[in-house]
Assembly symmetry: C2
Homo-oligomer: 102 residues x 2
Amino acid sequence: MCVLALLARQDGYAYDIASRLAEAIGMGEGTIYPLMRRMQGDGLVTTYLEESSSGPPRKYYQLTKAGRAALIAQKADWTDFTASVARILTDAKPARIVGGVT
Amino acid sequence: MCVLALLARQDGYAYDIASRLAEAIGMGEGTIYPLMRRMQGDGLVTTYLEESSSGPPRKYYQLTKAGRAALIAQKADWTDFTASVARILTDAKPARIVGGVT
DNA sequence: CATGGTACCTTGTTAAACAAGGTAGTGGCC
DNA sequence: GGCCACTACCTTGTTTAACAAGGTACCATG
């Protein structure tokens, strides 16, 4: 979801995304590449190559329509999920079922 | 963390905790029992048996001091983590490193 | 021409959730 | 008395995905 969110802003390449997410939530490089591959397999992103002056060519990822839809759905799930958890943490009185996070 | 939070309110037994968390966040029974075992191994909970009129005896779990400390730490981590994710979702400009969720 | 940064990728290990199934106690129903 | 349903415990096998570690290659600088 975070990757989708970053790509929703603008196209990006794995190394950069990995660096940002490493800093933000401690995600490692070894996680991002298989993930991008999965997302591409799921039709959430497409790729194109672009030369870089500072190293090898970058593989940019771009959200597809399905990717944007997935982001919206995942955000909704995430919101529900965190709300449920918050309810447990404060109330300890859980409520309704969370949809897709299951 | 959710289990610890529930137990912080009052002692509970796995079957009941599982039911609550199944309803709230879709957690299955097959998840809770190994989890309780792990937590006991980590010294976060202790157990005692209590007869029940509606079936076999219940194994109640009680938070230890370490368990209460773990809950506090995990809550802090969770708060930081969700804040970071929220920042990514809105800004797409991640910030500081999250501690223990790594 | 070696080092360090950029950027790609794979492989093996491990953690943990999940589905499914198995055991056993209690009570109610026919 | 036999059977079913509910409670409550637990285990086992499968799958998923993160992670650590390592490998390749490009480019610039000293």
